[in-house]
């Protein structure tokens, strides 16, 4: 369905993601239902108001219809109507919230009052987000100060960016072009200037734009420096005096936790575990790691996570301790 072709659809912004038409569908469905209901109410009210104005000759007297039947009638009609819309909208929402496997991941950090974007190869940009068309893209959102909200109206998606946590947002851009980006959660003085744009490129154009970026070796070298600077190496390099889990092939693996559950070691897990290590403790290890909350900057944190990712993609022969 292409609603923007319709002449009355001036109130619909551009649709540039695969989810947007489905959201608009619910919106229009609700709009039609509401319009019918409002029209009905206006018609009834106007009829009654005119017909039963004081002194009019219209017939009065007790109402014949059973009050009880009327009441039950409209209570059940509205309830079932509402439940229908609930079912429809929740289906779309769950699809919108469940990130597809193998999505292309980009880090976005919000700070007063700018968006800091890091592409997987290390390319950085501010207040602009370049993405390839037709590919599942997952944004990993974090904040350095207050709550922001990453809002792409043309994609119909939005996610608050909360300090201390990594949250994610995924989309599949369907149309090339430049679309607005807003901060939607009030974040202080220049909240209204924390805007930018998202540029959807063809996959080839995106690859060109992305360029070489930082080579994986660069990531390893820089990441290793940070790994030492923040004393991660002291415990996590193997062998170590302190009993700490090895991080060599951690990224992407399933990690057994002390409470006997499992969690996938994705970016969110690494991010939150560095900030709050005691929340999800690996089975067989004591909760002795100090929290890096407030100690490490969001930027360095993301660099270390990239380092851990790069480690997992290394050939198995090189060991952590032998790295430069």
């Amino acid at each position: 369905m292409n609603f923007t072709r319709l002449p009355f659809a001036f109130f619909l912004p551009e649709r540039a993601s695969t989810i947007a038409p489905r959201v608009d569908g619910i919106f229009l469905g609700l709009l039609v239902a509401s319009a019918v209901l409002v029209a009905l109410l206006i018609a009834l009210n106007l009829t009654f108001l005119i017909r039963y104005r004081r002194g009019s000759p219209a017939k009065r007297g007790p109402i014949k219809i059973s009050t009880w039947k009327l009441e039950t009638g409209w209570i059940s009609a509205t309830t079932f109507g509402f439940l229908g819309f609930f079912y429809w909208s929740s289906r779309v929402y769950l699809d919108e919230e469940r990130p597809p496997a193998g999505a292309y991941e980009i880090n976005v950090t919000g700070r007063q009052w700018m968006w800091d974007v890091r592409h997987p190869n290390g390319r950085r940009e501010f207040d602009t987000l370049h993405v390839p068309r037709g590919r599942d893209v997952r944004l990993l959102l974090s904040s350095e100060d207050v709550i922001h909200s990453f809002y792409l109206p043309s994609f119909r998606i939005k996610q608050d960016v909360v300090p201390g946590r990594m949250l994610s947002l995924w989309f599949n851009a369907s149309k090339e072009g430049t679309y607005p980006l807003f901060c939607a959660e009030y974040c202080g003085t220049k909240h209204s200037q924390m805007t930018g744009q998202v540029v959807v490129l063809s996959p080839e154009a995106y690859a060109t734009w992305l360029g070489a970026g930082t080579a994986p070796e660069g990531v390893l070298v820089h990441g290793r420096q940070l790994f030492i600077k923040y004393n991660c190496a002291g415990c996590h390099d193997q062998p170590s005096q302190i009993h700490a889990p090895p991080l060599q092939n951690l990224y992407g693996a399933m990690v057994p936790l002390a409470d006997k559950s499992f969690v996938r070691a994705d970016e969110v897990y690494l991010h939150d575990s560095i900030l709050l290590p005691n929340k999800q403790v690996v089975a067989g290890y004591a909760p002795i790691m100090p929290s890096y909350q407030g100690v490490i900057s969001e930027g360095d944190l993301l660099e270390i996570i990239r380092y851990l990712k790069a480690l997992a993609q290394q050939p198995a022969s090189t060991s952590t301790s032998s790295l430069p």
Binding site: I19, R22, R53, P153, G188, Q293
Partner: protein, 542 residues
């Protein structure tokens, strides 16, 4: 309702509450619920004016996409002042504390509320809170928005958050005291024969409101205490640096603030029920269901706060549950709208000003309620959350609903308050101007919101300008609609035609006593023998 009022045996009638003392002291130290009601009315009119001026400045600023009239900091302070004052110092006390105080005891046939001293004390608490809020505004303002989201409010904002939080905290205790007083009054002070099934619907709605006041406000109070402590000590439980969760603040805040929305609409529904019955000379259709729906709203209203947090990082499953509950809470509201419409059927309708306000309420509340369904629908909310769509939605409920109902209530009980009538046609025209101005102001904001304009934006992209200009134009008309009653009601207070005890031919107990009401409401305790709205049926006019 027909009454067995014993014919007055006393020769000299009781003086009216307005004549029982003319000194300032006789007002400021009064224990009479009617005078306290008027004290509230004066206070909320004052706060409303300040908040409305803030809104006017914002609307003028938004005429152009650039931030040219005020600075961003100033703009942020303006919307905070507007929100805080309108919510806590106008809407929440409007119908309950001002009109409710005035009419509740009269409607149940009592001399006063159960705890008159507490009643006066809660007005002083309200004023203390209000003055503290004013102090924080004049001392430099607050730039957090009325929602005080952490960690911005607790750590990053360099404004007078503490004074404002304490002001709202104090005003909260005024709300609690008022709610407590109303609950006890309605339970214990009903006149003989005034059973629950004979209780006017306005009282049912105020009873439900009072339950929310008593059960929700304390959670806001403790949350504000926590914010204040966090600012004092520099650390706090919402601080992500300690592993605290900013979303916990949102949970606690909305546990109060969503039910608070029903504090701001239930009393309005009560006024509409009263006026629909009186001006169509019929009982409200489905009295029991309408009464029960007030209680249902009060209870269900506590279960839906999570829909303010759909994009906050709250769990997806919690989001789905809160969405379901939010759809369901709309059912009792829909019941009321249908019942009011059915009340008109076969009525004897006369178009007095209160009815015009009520009809306006029904229209605007319906739109506000229906757009609430859009916001309950998860993916649509994800898109329009924190945009002008939400702003338009809650203004349709709070201004289109509550302010119109408040104005309707003021007009309806004006003869009882002042003993006089206002100029009917001027009042009707003011009501219609308000209705038109309101729609012009806020309807464009629905469109703005779906197009993606975020709220709390000082500057905005140019493509949004046309709709913003429309909205500002509407606001100027709305301003006229608000200002007119100040003049003609003020005039009528001193020079209006005498109203007599029951100018509308209404059945409520409050209309069975003199206008303005006597000091102790009734010469003798009334006895109730029939249900409310016992108007004669058929074509004969009383």
């Amino acid at each position: 309702m027909s009454l067995l009022v014993t014919p007055p045996e006393i020769e000299t009638p009781m003086p009216s509450y307005l004549e029982s003392g003319h000194t300032v002291r006789s007002w400021l130290l009064t224990l009479d619920h009617k005078r306290i009601g008027l004290l509230y009315m004066a206070a909320i009119t004052f706060f409303f004016t300040i908040a409305a001026i803030a809104a006017a400045l914002m609307r003028i600023e938004l005429l152009t996409p650039q931030g040219d009239l005020v600075t961003s900091d100033m703009y942020n302070r303006l919307f905070t002042v507007h929100g805080v004052l309108m919510v806590w110092f106008f809407l929440i006390p409007s119908i309950p504390s001002a009109l409710g105080n005035f009419v509740i005891p009269m409607m149940i046939g009592a001399r006063d509320v159960a705890f008159p001293r507490l009643n006066l004390f809660s007005w002083y608490l309200f004023m203390a809170g209000g003055l503290l809020a004013l102090y924080s505004i004049l001392g430099g303002g607050v730039d957090t928005g009325w929602t005080f989201y952490t960690p911005y409010s607790s750590t990053y904002s360099n404004s007078h958050v503490m004074a404002m939080a304490v002001g709202v905290f104090i005003a909260g205790f005024s709300s609690i005291a008022t709610g407590l007083n109303f609950i006890v009054t309605i339970h214990k002070l009903r006149a003989p024969g005034m059973t629950w099934s004979r209780l006017p619907l306005f009282l049912w709605s105020l009873y439900a409101t009072s339950l929310i006041l008593v059960l929700a406000t304390p959670v806001l109070a403790i949350t504000l205490v926590l914010i204040t402590l966090e600012r004092v000590f520099g650390v706090g439980i919402f601080d992500p640096k300690l592993g605290g969760d900013p979303l916990l603040f949102q949970h606690l805040f909305w546990f109060y603030s969503h039910p608070a929305v029903y504090i701001m609409i239930l009393p309005g529904m009560g006024v509409v029920s009263e006026t629909m019955a009186v001006f169509s000379r019929k009982p409200v259709f489905g009295y029991r269901v309408v009464a029960a729906s007030s209680l249902a709203i009060a209870i269900l209203g506590f279960l839906v706060w999570g829909h303010h947090m759909f994009v906050s990082g709250q769990s997806v499953y919690a989001g789905v549950v809160f969405s379901l509950l939010s759809f369901l809470v709309a059912v009792p509201s829909a019941i009321k709208v249908f019942s009011w419409t059915a009340t008109l059927y076969r009525g004897q309708i006369s178009f007095e000003t209160p009815l015009i306000y009520s009809l306006g309420f029904i229209g605007l509340f319906t739109i506000g309620g229906l757009t609430g369904l859009f916001l309950a629908a998860l993916p649509v909310d994800v898109h329009v959350h924190d945009t002008y769509f939400v702003v338009a939605h809650f203004h349709y409920i709070m201004v289109g609903g509550m302010v119109l109902a408040y104005m309707g209530g003021v007009h309806y009980w004006w003869p009882k308050i002042s003993g006089r009538l206002y100029h009917e046609w001027t009042a009707r025209i003011a009501a219609i101007i308000t209705f038109i101005g309101f729609n012009l102001t806020f309807f464009p904001q629905f469109v703005l919101g779906y197009l993606g304009m975020p709220r709390r934006y000082h500057m905005y992209p140019e493509q949004f300008q046309t709709l913003n200009v429309l909205s500002t134009a509407g606001a100027s008309i709305l301003g006229v609609g608000y200002a007119l009653p100040l003049f003609y009601l003020g005039w009528s207070f001193f020079y209006g035609r005498k109203a007599g005890p029951n100018p509308w031919g209404a059945t409520g107990l409050e209309w069975q006593t003199a206008s303005p009401a006597p000091e102790h409401n009734f010469e003798t305790t009334p006895v109730v023998t029939t249900g409310p709205y016992a108007y004669p049926e058929g074509n004969d006019m009383p």
